[in-house]
Symmetry: C2
Subunit: 239 residues, 2 copies
């Protein structure tokens, strides 16, 4: 029962890939899709390790990382609600996926999804558009990593997260970015995404705080006090 109409009550329904499926296909989907939960910090899927399922993120944030034996690690992507996890047409992904926060996934068998992709032009078209957007986003981040200062990097990251969480509906769709929310990344993770060290991130957050752009509240909450100032500090160049 609950399972029959899971799609119709799904929070990310209008934003996720499933939008590319005709109504009747969604019904069939219901019968095979299943949910998974991961606590913050848990390993989800591994670099160079077979993964025989794909998923849509229902809630939470996932980080994609690459690391070297010598300990160097870099976050190469973040997945927010409605984003897709997995690497079709290739058994293994070159990156590791880990839950940055508690995560809820809606999963599908690899072969089932690849099958759907073949048979449903609307779906594969949508998937292609998403993937093209991801290339663009990755390239924007390359600019950040290669050319921005530490302060710009941190400001850009806060803006990125604010925008993405807003899009995910975390603040009920207000027309301006969420100003107050629990930041989904630890200082260490911020550093790993920005190509910085944790101490530098900490100092730059202090700088943004004294500039009045943001405020740091209890827990991991970050409050955007002055959006325009934050955008200025990000060099108006985030995403």
């Amino acid at each position: 029962m609950r399972k029959r109409n899971a799609c119709t009550i799904c929070a990310v329904r209008q934003k996720a890939l499933c939008r590319g499926l005709p109504e009747d296909q969604q019904g069939r989907l219901n019968r095979t899709a299943y949910h998974r939960h991961y606590d913050a910090g848990r390993f989800i899927s591994g670099a160079d390790q077979r993964q025989d399922w794909f998923a849509t993120v229902l809630s939470g944030v996932i980080k994609l990382t690459k690391s070297l034996p010598d300990g160097r690690q870099q976050i190469v992507g973040l997945l927010f609600p409605a984003d897709f996890l997995g690497r079709p047409f290739r058994g293994r992904s070159p990156f590791t996926a880990e839950a940055a926060t508690a995560v809820e996934l809606c999963c599908l068998d690899r072969c089932h999804f690849e099958d759907l992709l073949q048979k449903t032009p609307g779906l594969s078209q949508l998937f292609l558009e998403r993937t093209l957007d991801e290339v663009d986003a990755a390239r924007e981040w390359m600019f950040l990593l290669g050319r921005k200062t530490a302060e710009e990097k941190v400001a850009s990251l806060i803006l990125l997260v604010a925008r993405r969480l807003r899009r995910a509906g975390a603040d009920g769709g207000a027309e301006r970015p969420a100003v107050h929310w629990d930041f989904p990344l630890s200082r260490t993770e911020m550093a790993e995404y920005l190509g910085l060290r944790i101490e530098t991130v900490s100092r730059q957050i202090r700088a943004l705080r004294s500039a009045g752009a943001i405020e740091v509240a209890e827990g991991r909450a970050i409050i955007v006090r002055d959006l325009a100032a934050l955008e200025r500090m990000a060099q108006k160049e985030c995403e």
Copy 2:
């Protein structure tokens, strides 16, 4: 005449996107596809500027860049022979394309290509796979930009170019990377791709040279003397 069977004599035929088209479609393609030439350094298509055609690179190397009004510039991608240029389903690309070397393109109307993409599952499947590979490559480069040292960056770039040019058939398909070829990027461009300054690139090339990994010949030629050493210096982590 020449145009009729242009596809059948095309150098990148087996590697380019066109492979995703059935034979008879390739014939139709011939009638509308046309070639373009750009000299080294020429502007090809602009950030946020309408581009109503797509292209396959026949020869040469294209750089995709993003730059800020304050002069900071970053190369966010390189296109080699058989690669695809353009951004379907969105009028404008957020990046600028420029010829790094002399470039030959095989072009197609935007609407014609998007039409083909809709109608030809094989083509859109292939295009999707290519795009997924591009995301992976961009993320690998994010690791390089965020975590590698200057020396590792330069070594990685030389390896990347060697491999891509080999794949493009520049050395007739030898089973090891090309050891001798004209490097397609200037020092400035290398720096722009690596998130470094030109002086640093120059010094690191000197370092690789004194380590015996490479040799710099007249013109822009780079000779890979010791592939294993070069790979070691790239932290075995290039692409």
